[in-house]
């Protein structure tokens, strides 16, 4: 068991060894859904590109978008930008219908980095991690739990986990990192 609790205080979980685990600060997070025709309008309103290939990402400053499905994106931004984004989208709603739903509090994000970060994911994730390009990501499954995985560098990932599943998954990663350290 880790030292982590359901309070999810940001900070390091495993600070040294072949893989480091860190709980990240909360961000603003939105699930965005819309049809292809409206992509340009909404992208403009958000100020970030909306890539159309599942797994691709785009960023503009602190605002990031990842395409999770043919009509679905996860938008991430600074918490302070929440209202701005909501109203920007509301402004174009009439001409470009869509669904923007805030899910900032739904997920917990953990960073996984270090020499064997990619390998650590294999303790629960059946996807070929090598197939996720740096700068890309995907929604996938780890130990039966849906997560969104962002590959920021060869050996650096962010993993978004629904709150009530987060401790279970982070515990698993923690167990794995101990195992790696013992090797």
């Amino acid at each position: 068991m880790t030292v982590l609790t359901h309070a999810f205080t940001p900070g390091p979980i495993v600070a040294s060894g072949p893989v480091k685990l860190t709980l990240l600060e909360p961000v603003a997070r939105f699930s965005l859904r819309l049809r292809a025709a409206n992509i340009p309008t909404v992208a403009k309103a958000l100020g970030v590109d909306l890539p159309t290939t599942v797994g691709e990402r785009a960023a503009n400053g602190t605002t990031e978008a990842i395409c999770l499905g043919p009509d679905e994106w996860m938008i991430i931004a600074k918490t302070d930008d929440t209202d701005k984004l909501v109203s920007a989208c509301a402004d174009v709603y009439a001409s470009a219908t869509h669904s923007l739903t805030e899910v900032s509090a739904r997920e917990i994000t953990v960073r996984i980095e270090g020499d064997r970060a990619a390998e650590l994911l294999t303790i629960g994730c059946p996807r070929d991690i090598d197939s996720i390009p740096v700068g890309g990501g995907c929604r996938t499954v780890i130990d039966g739990v849906t997560v969104v995985l962002w590959r920021d560098a060869d050996q650096s990932f962010r993993m978004d986990i629904w709150r009530s599943f987060a401790l279970h998954i982070i515990d698993l990663l923690y167990t794995g990192s101990k195992e790696f350290a013992a090797e």
């Binding site: 859904r33 009509d71 059946p126 195992e179």
Partner: protein, 997 residues
Amino acid sequence: MSSFRVSGRGRVDHTQPIQFTFDGKKIKGFKGDTVASALLANGIHLMGRSFKYHRPRGAVTAGSEEPNALVGTRRGPGRFEPNTRATVQEIWDGLQVNSQNRYPSLSFDIGAINDKAYMLFSAGFYYKTFMWPKSFWDKVYEPFIRAAAGLGVSPTEPDPDHYASRYLHTDVLIIGAGPAGLAAALSAARAGSRVTLVDENPEAGGSLLSEPSAQIEDMPAWDWVGKTVAELKELGVKLMTRTTAIGYYHQNMVGLCEKLTDHLASPDGETPRERMWRVRAKQVVLAQGALEKPLVFDGNDRPGVMLAGSAQTYLNRYGVRVGDKAVILTSHDSAWYAAFDLADAGTTIAAIVDTRAEPNADLVAEATKRGIRIMAGHTVTGTEGRLRVKSVRVNPVTGSSVGAPEVIGCDCLLMSGGWTPSLHLFSHTKGTLAWDEERQTFLPDHKAEECEIAGAGRGLWGIEAVLNDGAAMGAAAVKSLGKDIAPASYTVANDRPGTGVSHKELPTDLDAGKARAFVDYQNDVTAKDLRLAVREGMRSIEHVKRYTTNGMATDQGKMSNINGLNIASDALGVPQPKVGLTTFRPPYTPTTFGAFCGYHKGSHFEVTRKTPIDSWAEENGAAYEPVSLWRRAWYFPKDGEDMHAAVDRECRATRASVGIFDASTLGKIEVVGPDAVEFMNRMYTNPWTKLAPGRARYGLLLGDDGFIRDDGVIGRLADDRFHVTTTTGGAARVLNMMEDYLQTEWPDLDVWLTSTTEQWATIALNGPNARKVLEPFVEGQDMSDEAFPHMSVSECRVGGFPARLFRISFTGEVGFEVNVPAHAGRALWEMLYEAGKKYDICPYGTETMHVLRAEKGYIIVGQDTDGTVTPHDAGLSWAIGKMKPDFVGKRGLARPDLVAEGRKQLIGLLTEDGKTKLEEGAQIVLDPNQPKPMKMVGHVTSSYHSDAAGRPIAMALLEDGFNRMGETIYIPMPDRVIKAQVTGTVFYDPEGARLKL
């Protein structure tokens, strides 16, 4: 050191002595020994007892295919396992080994009495007997049979070890690191592929480890292995030893079990005992090698009777001579080499008995050179010796006639019936086999997966042939991945290729009916048993297997399948390929449960979901109940209260003033888009068009069969935005169902669904003082009854947090449900709790929630309904939008049985004495005096003591219940009959006056 250890020989480390115990006796071996090799080094052959007859048995093999030498192994408390193969278990200082299936001792076993009655205990005898008298089966016969069966004893303590698992993606997975696998790995790795090479042994080399005299590329075989392993590592090949490929699944998914600590004297505690790998390979190369076949003759199971190739392995790999004086019995060239190696190491070879009239002339010359007596065209018809073979009976055979025997003294008999390619994994894939008449064995035929088979696994004998085949197959594997490499070509000196013939049971001059010629050693299946099975009509090899249990032991037929087939085929008069083999199934070798469990043990068996407020509940002494994957606060006992007392108090406090409840687990779905209302109209039974933004409504969800699936309160936040709630357990199911209809039936609707269950923490406040507690925290919403009446929803701020505030009630009291972002849940809860103290605010759990709602007759889907209940049955006809052209379930509801009279309907029940609380699940009858089977007319779905009603209350589903108001019905219990009256389901405040307080 005993005389059986050949100093300087083998791959064991002669400088590292190790001591372990066998049945309490101290045994010495070296690092690198297995239990079996160490015992043999000490002259001990007797290692176990067989299953049925308790016959004394020794190791017949030197590998994972061992059927006889099964032992219990122990490493301190909790770390015991039965049925470990002594031929595989590596020794370490302090290892405790015990023999099995014997009492009181291995050398003197009372159970061996069974052996004397073997005439009775023929195949399938138990189907024919133990039937009289009938009552004896359970009490006498079965316990007797059971006690006699089984091998080792079960562990009795929880396992302190932990286990792990990983996924692995690789271009080429090579199974078996013998010459074929090593050569294949070289080809594939040199071509630049991601290669994984696994072997169940502690080191790579396979059969080469038993062939040190071979010269590969002018190098001693062991040097070549060393050099190759180094090059593979250099090339980035993942080489995994002590790793067994246990199963070959769909689309090149292979399960591997890696053993990490069982060979260590003191594991570090962090390292898992075993790790399960789930490998997905683009290509698989099966280089599993071949297994040597025993010969089938009377007495072929005596300790000291062993496979020749295994004796060779004991000598060359472990530096152990398995005896001082050996007789070789073979139908294949390979055993001759074993004889030569042993002879050269100092064992007397009393004779080489070859069943073939004219063995290979070169071999004969070699043997003659060593002065070995050659008995070609002979057979063995029996062995003698109580706990160890001491002589064999050898007879000449001409045609079908067996000549007079000669008895030859010996202390071991080394046999070879030829080799069978290991095609277990190949067969897991449903790849087909073809019979090879020349080799008298099955070879791989049609492939069902992307794989290649290399080496002895496809019937190639001889190191050179195998190496070249491995290299070619490795190249073939990468070729289909778009990589080209010319396979290396190898030359081998001192190679030992060979040929042989295949047999059913060997001929004998004795009464064949009395011969005890074993085919399946562990399960004590003899050739005679197989023939009996055929005689009794078991014409399919599968029947023969099941009737005799041949091949069902822990070696899964590795020793017995082909011999069994040969005999059955002979008995049936049908050639082998027409008879066929039984099905190979995973795992390749028996595999620890722990390895399958991996991390899923204890609290990690399955996730426990907790709400953002759960920690407060824990700090405040909540008792919990599991609800789907969640744990929920059940009740909050105070100073020694039992559940009943706590719940009564919580109910009272809520109705009297205010209660606070964590409803965060409720499923929440955001339905957004221009067609949101149309979608809601189609999904839920209720009409939604007229529901104004800011208002909420109870929604009922059916399946298209017309039965209730879920319910919840749904708020309309804007024209095109709904906040849907579902039951806790239904959340995922409902969203899935909605997506299904949306994506496949109504893709034209402009509406999207997002799960927000975990976005929001939900706090319910209920009771006459609920508003007073809440109001001071609310910004942006007038909380007056007029501005915010019952069934309202508002987006506002509560306690400084953005909130979705509902005014709804699941208790009959004035009620609010505050949704705030999950991370704010606990903070707001504490604020409200603090503020509520002056109103004696009471936290309550799910049990009180259940009581309060039952007092009002509100249903719980899944408790008061069960998947066979319609809205009408549940008294919810009012929730159906009758004017709607369609909704999910509308057509289903119109089916004849769903509109029939007299269906079970949800009603209330009050026990006549006003004191007895009914049991949930209790059955209702109209006539308690009828005989069984009684006509049951319903059952109690919910039952509680109601503080508000001052008596127990219950709800029930009752046939024609709505027409039975006021009637008395009966609930027969084991000890009495309870009378109750049928009532409506609302037990408290029927006018709903309290909602307006």
